[in-house]
Symmetry: C2
Subunit: 135 residues, 2 copies
Amino acid sequence: MKLLVTCAAVVIALGMQTEVGRAAEKPPVRKLRHVVCVKFKDGVSKAQSDRIIVAFAALPSKIPQIREFEFGANNSPEGLNKGFTHCFILTFDTEKDRDAYLPHASHQEFVKIIKPVLDEVLVIDYWQETKSSSP
Amino acid sequence: MKLLVTCAAVVIALGMQTEVGRAAEKPPVRKLRHVVCVKFKDGVSKAQSDRIIVAFAALPSKIPQIREFEFGANNSPEGLNKGFTHCFILTFDTEKDRDAYLPHASHQEFVKIIKPVLDEVLVIDYWQETKSSSP
């Protein structure tokens, strides 16, 4: 009986520790997304656009305010991409962090690299809402 | 000593169970994003656009293929949003799931609701890349 009680106490203590661990790891309730859709100029080769993408993807290692970074090439079958071929999503914890990213030297250096091959860019930032309740 | 060994065994077993649980919960390595940027027609009131957003946000409860759903209103200080005011990001595990969503009756019902108030829509889907290594 004593063994059982002790084991139960250990199990409960471990459970609590796991919960505390989870709470500590918990990301901020809402994230600030920075969505960048890119359309390269006609005649820009895949090798050129790949170099741009690599340069963009290097920014998180240079700008600590970027919390998450992801991107990809359009594969929508709907044909509603208006010529935009790539999407990049950067995530920030605060507007202050986003505002530090925009004029950051490494970002501005990247802007200089992409500008000559860029036809159009669309940028939307938003505070993430994830509600999915029925109306 | 016996108590210690038994407790240790319980702890190890629990740890293993947690690991197995984690592996089972682990999301797919890459996610398929479906990014939808929306521009409402001039004259559409906030109450009208809010109703549309609520209807959109209700889709995950009707279409099980939608793995994640988030959205938000543009707050970028850059002025590069080309009139698009809202962004919605739906996440799917597979292209098959995305292809089931597009003609899904509940999605098509929503399209009928949004169409009369929609000025423009931009859709980009991509398989998420998250590499951020330096060039």
